[in-house]
Symmetry: C2
Subunit: 339 residues, 2 copies
């Protein structure tokens, strides 16, 4: 069915009590999204909680197959299994689904969208639109202008990902373990297979047969799909670090065309969604603690690769819960209502 | 003058009260180095402290130009300026200097040695021998067998370096800041230019004109010198993470010859100084908290690069104060007395 432009929209958040769901609520509020009514949906164990939205107290409702009647948008962030089960009911009810899980990302019939990069992938009559993985979003925002001008051949990326990417329980686990280590107590690990406090885990999501993790293969496959070029080669290593918010990434890019860090700095400065933070003389470079709560993807440490012609290095940081998830989803909705 | 074999040696530690100096003392003790007498040397502000060695209490003496009379070995770890000033006096006194600072590493007349890699670089009559930078040592222990068999063309490395690499004050700063952040207090940064607690700093040592840091260029230049091959290209990004002990590194290696991760796993398993920790099905991979206090360089996450032929990825972790500094220095001394 056709998307009807309205003055205000009824918006549902599925997984409203989670780390990303909460950011979806505040992002809708901060960006003055034209919300007629906000519907917060979650599992039965979250029922009874309330959240404040524009001064109103909104109760969390239990997610059911019938939750989507009358909704214009449903922003899903409750894991792939919830999306797989409930997104079809939302679509059937005439609701546009913007899904933050991995459920539909690599489905060739579902667009995978970063609004600064491939807004044209959003169809006239959207059903389900997939929101990419957090570590991919911030990288492709920086890679897109580079690819357009210099044609990217290969990317070698190592990530420094914060625990908030694993949800509220992981934030609590890092806090509890940190206090425990400083008190010389034994650490209990429930969210992660090993202690994350004062440690680095080269392991995000499950291991696959090729020795890479699912998180790493997301960076390979989603990057190609979003940039619309299966010839781009990506070699990723994804690592969890003891940081609460924002992912950092060390990115090496090889291109077809001659490239220089200085030109890329200007190019990215003029590209949407990016803030250049790159003044080594003043010790200025992107930092996780500074990206927290910010909308922009921050790029710095731009320099020519000294090991190879036609290659550069940079460091990219973004708030994984905002641009890496909630903000990107809301931007997709904004794009649909504004065009 | 000629090196005289003895049953026991008089050994001095310059910078005995620092993070590395203390590990030098415990390493000599643990490895039963044939110490006749241990001389602990430091700046006047450390005088009066005592340290226990083999049950004896050893006072810290003030470092002077005359401190080296009668010493067989002097292990320096008090910064480049101290080494530059005092190492010549030690050599003049007939003492072999093993220097952990950056002062002499790239001096073409001074050998730069990792005993598992290039013991042949130690001359018959040693004067000053340089100990490489911590982030370089653990990487070259893993790269050396790979280079010997497959000829390395290029390395792209991103590091996850612990604060102990910046000394005792940095360990204290991470502790204090961590408690402060959890208590919602403002953070004071003295050792680092920014908060290190729950953050990642893509900045180790000073920035150079080419946009790389000195730490990064150490990884380029020292790797070439130790492996004896200036054709090896290295593209490094060095990052400080909120970890107390042990450095982790994400390493991508491109080779001349066809290479497979499976073969490299066997090769490194049989190579000196390396422990393979690589069983993803059991969530086993090298971890900073497990490497602390260990002698071996731990290698895991070995996998074929999916982005390129003749390339692999791996994750290498070692105790930066031990193999990255104190242990490597003591191993050099052992090599001299044993050959």
């Amino acid at each position: 069915m056709a998307f009807n432009k309205k003055q205000k929209y009824i918006v549902g958040i599925v997984g409203a009590t989670g780390a990303v769901g909460r950011r979806m609520l505040t992002t809708l509020e901060e960006r003055n999204f034209p919300v007629d009514r906000l519907v917060l949906l979650a599992s039965p164990r979250s029922a009874g909680q309330t959240f404040s939205f524009r001064g109103q107290s909104i109760p969390v409702e239990i997610l059911t197959e019938n939750s989507f009647e009358g909704l214009d948008f449903a922003l899903f962030s409750a894991g792939a299994s919830v999306s797989l089960k409930y997104a079809p009911f939302a679509v059937q009810a005439g609701c546009i689904v913007i899904d933050n899980s991995s459920a539909f990302r690599m489905d060739k019939n579902i667009p995978l969208v970063v609004p600064e990069v491939n807004p044209e992938a959003i169809p006239e009559q959207p059903g389900i639109i997939a929101n990419p993985n957090c570590s991919t979003i911030q990288m492709v925002v920086a890679l897109h202008p580079i690819h357009a001008r210099y044609r990217i051949k290969r990317v070698v990326v190592s990530t420094y990902q914060s625990v908030s990417g694993s949800g509220q329980k992981a934030i609590a686990e890092l806090t509890t373990q940190t206090i425990g280590v400083l008190d010389n107590k034994d650490c209990v690990s429930q969210v992660y297979p090993h202690q994350i406090a004062f440690n680095c885990l080269p392991h995000i999501d499950v291991f696959l047969d090729n020795g890479y993790t699912k998180e790493e293969m997301k960076m390979v496959n989603e990057t190609r799909k979003i940039l619309g070029d299966d010839s781009i080669q990506v070699s990723p290593t994804t690592v969890r670090v003891p940081v609460f918010y924002s992912h950092s990434e060390s990115v090496n890019v090889e291109t077809e065309e001659p490239i220089s860090a200085l030109d890329v700095k200007k190019l990215l400065h003029d590209s949407p969604g990016i803030r250049i933070v790159d003044d080594p003389d003043k010790n200025e470079y992107p930092l996780a603690i500074n990206a927290e709560g910010k909308d922009e993807v921050m790029v710095g440490r731009l320099r020519d690769d000294i090991s190879k012609e036609r290659a550069i290095n940079f460091w990219v940081v973004a708030d994984n819960l905002r641009k890496g998830a909630a903000l990107n989803a809301v931007q997709i909705a904004e794009h649909i209502i504004q065009r």
